[in-house]
Amino acid sequence: MSKRTLRIIVAKPGLDGHDRGARILARAFRDAGYEVVYTGCHQTPEQIVSAAIQEDVDLIGLSCLSGAHKHLFPKVVELLKEQQAEDIVVIGGGIIPKQDFQKLYDAGIQEIFTPGTPLEEIIKWIEDNVQPREELA
């Protein structure tokens, strides 16, 4: 059996159409050796969770620049729980004020990366915290 490859979905929930950052991350994840599913802008949390499950990803990376993260990010975690897929790790990024961090952590977002974070730091976090899931037996 070959080494398991980490699968990640990079998704943009909500109504902002600025996906340069998300695409830069997708590219960086590709260069780190991950398989990156990219779904584009204007996604509902339902679409993101459904895609994440169909794609059997280990990690969901959410990017939001519109200010709606307090609603959208927790919604994704909630829907994962409903689908018994809470083993999928969720992280977030974008324009997120410091005072919102704790609320998002409490909702089950495992880490938050804001603009200016070196790409290496994000990849290091993933290496340390996310493993390709156990094989289906």
């Binding site: 398989e35 599913v37 584009g40 499950i53 794609e55 059997d56 897929a85 037996a137």
Partner: protein, 324 residues
């Protein structure tokens, strides 16, 4: 097996994780495929191939919509290339199909090529079996953006649509061997662009040159474009859907489906033999150090690859002809 029941009942999580097992070549996946194999062969497998950016994913999206209108369930396997440097991949075909993400009658899975060069991923074959077993009526396989020679899809699909766009060269391109030959249908996308009608005429002339068509099916050529308005595009793609159905009907009514199934079966058997015979052989040569030894011999020019291979074959394949 409980997994089999969950696959057959269409459990999405089980199916997606099963496909992951297939991709990662997990041994347990084989046992599941052995169980479901006899129950497959029910789905109409459609191949969509063509150059990068030709519009395969957009067409897949519209085909899904149209098949859903017919009450059919659809599975999609969308292949994108793996980096030869890092092993990573951007799987971006879903972007065009996300409107179907919440439709329970649609299952979309992206696959990376992981080194396969024929336009597909090695996992495609068994993944089709899984989608078939989960009850999908239609399985659309979207290849990587192809050039001229990535024709593996011919061993997986019943009906192959080649997506072309204007401006890809002169008429000689239309009579070249390879991808151009395997198409059961041609779709000229971006037909609003200059050169579309020229390409149409060239394709028709190339088709005129062919003296025989299997089963009398002459590959139709459809012009589509997704600029004007989405409804017109959907209507045009529904004509493609009708042609695909018609093609599958002809295959079923004639002996050709059997021929194609046999070609498919042959490739599946060859792949299984590769995994059961060749790979373990190479592994054992590697484990015993014999492989490195042989490489030394070759580098030092003290032997040649043919003699070494014959020696190995003599040692391991003794009696191989007696098995039947």
């Amino acid at each position: 097996m409980e997994i089999i029941d969950r696959i057959k009942s269409g459990d999405v999580r089980t199916v997606s994780r099963m496909i992951r097992n297939i991709e990662d070549r997990v041994e347990a996946a084989k046992a599941v495929i052995k169980e479901i194999y006899p129950h497959t062969g029910r789905a109409h497998v459609i191949g969509l191939t063509g150059a990068p950016g030709a519009g395969k994913s957009t067409l897949s999206d519209a085909l899904i919509t149209n098949y859903r209108k017919q009450g059919k369930t659809v599975g999609v396997l969308a292949v994108d290339p793996t980096s030869p440097f890092t092993g990573g991949a951007i799987l971006g075909d879903r972007v065009r199909m996300q409107k179907h993400a919440e439709d329970r009658g649609v299952f979309i899975r992206s696959l990376a090529t992981r080194g396969a060069l024929g336009g597909l991923a090695d996992a495609v074959d068994d993944s089709i079996h899984v989608l078939d077993a989960m009850g999908k009526d239609i399985v659309i396989v979207e290849t990587v953006g192809t050039g001229q020679s990535e024709v593996d899809i011919m061993n997986n699909a019943h009906s192959i649509a080649l997506v072309l766009t204007p401006g890809m060269g002169d008429e000689v391109q239309t009579i070249k061997a390879g991808v151009m030959e395997i198409a059961d249908l041609f779709v000229i996308n971006k037909a609003d662009q200059k050169g579309a009608s020229k390409l149409y005429r060239e394709l028709q002339r190339a088709l005129d040159m062919a003296t025989t068509y299997q089963s009398g099916w002459r590959p139709p050529v459809l012009l589509v474009e997704n600029i004007a308005d989405p409804d017109t595009f959907l209507d045009r793609v529904d004509e493609l859907r009708e042609k695909l159905d018609e093609h599958y009907g002809i295959l079923r009514d004639q002996a050709i489906l059997g021929e194609r199934e046999r070609r498919k079966a042959r490739v599946q058997l060859m792949n299984a033999l590769q995994g059961a015979v060749f790979e373990p052989l190479v592994q054992s040569l590697n484990d015993s150090g014999k492989l490195e030894e042989m490489l030394d011999t070759l580098v030092q020019k003290q032997g040649d690859p043919y003699s070494l291979a014959e020696e190995i074959a003599g040692r391991y394949l003794k009696g191989a002809g007696d098995t039947g």
